[in-house]
Symmetry: C2
Subunit: 226 residues, 2 copies
């Protein structure tokens, strides 16, 4: 039996729902729809309805039938803790255990549910208090706060604009391997050489090399403009 921050018991399934609601509802500030939760968790809408009623009973979400759900403060704290753990474990896997950024997600999905405050605080210390995970996503602090940096999609940069790659939107293994192949990594300096109106592709420069990327790629790379 495991108990959360508030001294209440919480199941692994409940944690996963709360996390999904957090991420779908822009960190818990807007309503997440029943169907979007079902899609995110690869389950059925009817299962979601059942579960959100239970979460509402326990005080993790506010729910009005047909209106979707929004996290309460209590729910937000749970979600931020799970996300914090997920991202810290990802850093651990890459920094200490030689994993690459396309291999860490599934393992972090398991590790994020381990219950121990001391464990996560010591892990944070071991990793020297990282602020971002290997995909550039910010790590919530102990109280659940996220400091967000100004970043934009590469797609939005104008010709001749320069910036640094600070994150990926799509974290699928396929996309990350594509980036590896073309030596695009967090920290890479990117210059937009030209944009093609026809298909929204662009030519960019990374270090010495020049490559042509599709609109799909440009829409999944976060850039800090300079």
């Amino acid at each position: 039996m495991w108990f959360n921050y508030f001294g209440a018991m919480i199941t692994l399934t409940e944690e996963n729902y709360i996390k999904a609601i957090y991420q779908l509802g822009k960190y818990g500030t807007v309503n997440a729809s029943t169907n979007s939760i079902a899609d995110a968790l690869e389950t059925k809408a009817s299962s979601v309805t059942d579960m959100i009623k239970k979460l509402a009973d326990k005080g993790y979400v506010n729910y009005k039938p047909y209106q979707g759900v929004k996290l309460t403060q209590k729910g937000k704290k749970i979600a931020a803790d799970v996300v914090r753990k997920h991202r810290l474990w990802e850093v651990f896997l890459v920094e200490k255990l030689n994993f690459s950024w396309d291999e860490v997600h599934d393992i972090a999905e398991q590790l994020e549910h381990i219950k121990s405050e001391k464990l996560i605080n010591e892990l944070d210390k071991l990793l020297d208090y990282p602020t971002h995970d290997p995909h550039g996503d910010p790590i919530p602090d102990k109280s659940g706060d996220i400091k967000k940096t100004d970043k934009t999609l590469l797609f939005n940069l104008d010709e001749n604009a320069k910036g640094i790659c600070v994150g990926v939107k799509d974290t699928s293994s396929a996309f990350l391997k594509y980036l590896d192949k073309y030596n695009i990594a967090l920290g890479s300096k990117i210059t937009v050489l030209s944009k093609e109106a026809f298909d929204d592709s662009m030519v960019i420069q990374i270090g010495e090399t020049t490559i042509n990327i599709s609109q799909v790629v440009a829409n999944n790379l976060f850039i800090k403009e300079q």
Copy 2:
């Protein structure tokens, strides 16, 4: 959905039963009784009967009604893997995250179920291939083999015998804290100064200090005689 070494799905509950059977049945070589399994897992005998039927169906144990169960080769491999992970995580917690030996058990109980071969192999490497956990218990190797060293309980030593503390039988927090208090740790040199027939207590020397220990303590400390 997680799949084991044999490509079959295995639940967390099944893993816990298999581990208990392994440890009760002296690493799976003798039969574990229904009641002993129930005690170990803090559940009821009727629940155990249900589960061992399922484990038998899946080929992890051999079961004849009223005869208890013994692990199959398949079951033994699963169990040894779980124990290997448990003990490696314990080493990690103590060596890398500043935990003391009385704090690691509950967290390792959670971590032992994380599924990733690469994770556990890399952890093994990070820890420089440890052979024993913080309580002196041997860590099974990748193929599930345990090399056991010759050790005896302090209780069995004669007067004037010398040895080194190599493990604890009781791993409860209470006992481990007792040992900390009297500076008894793995690696401590111990000499039996005298034995008291009346209550089976003994006087031992550790480093510069001399202490009186009860039969209970003597029966829970493993010693390598010298």
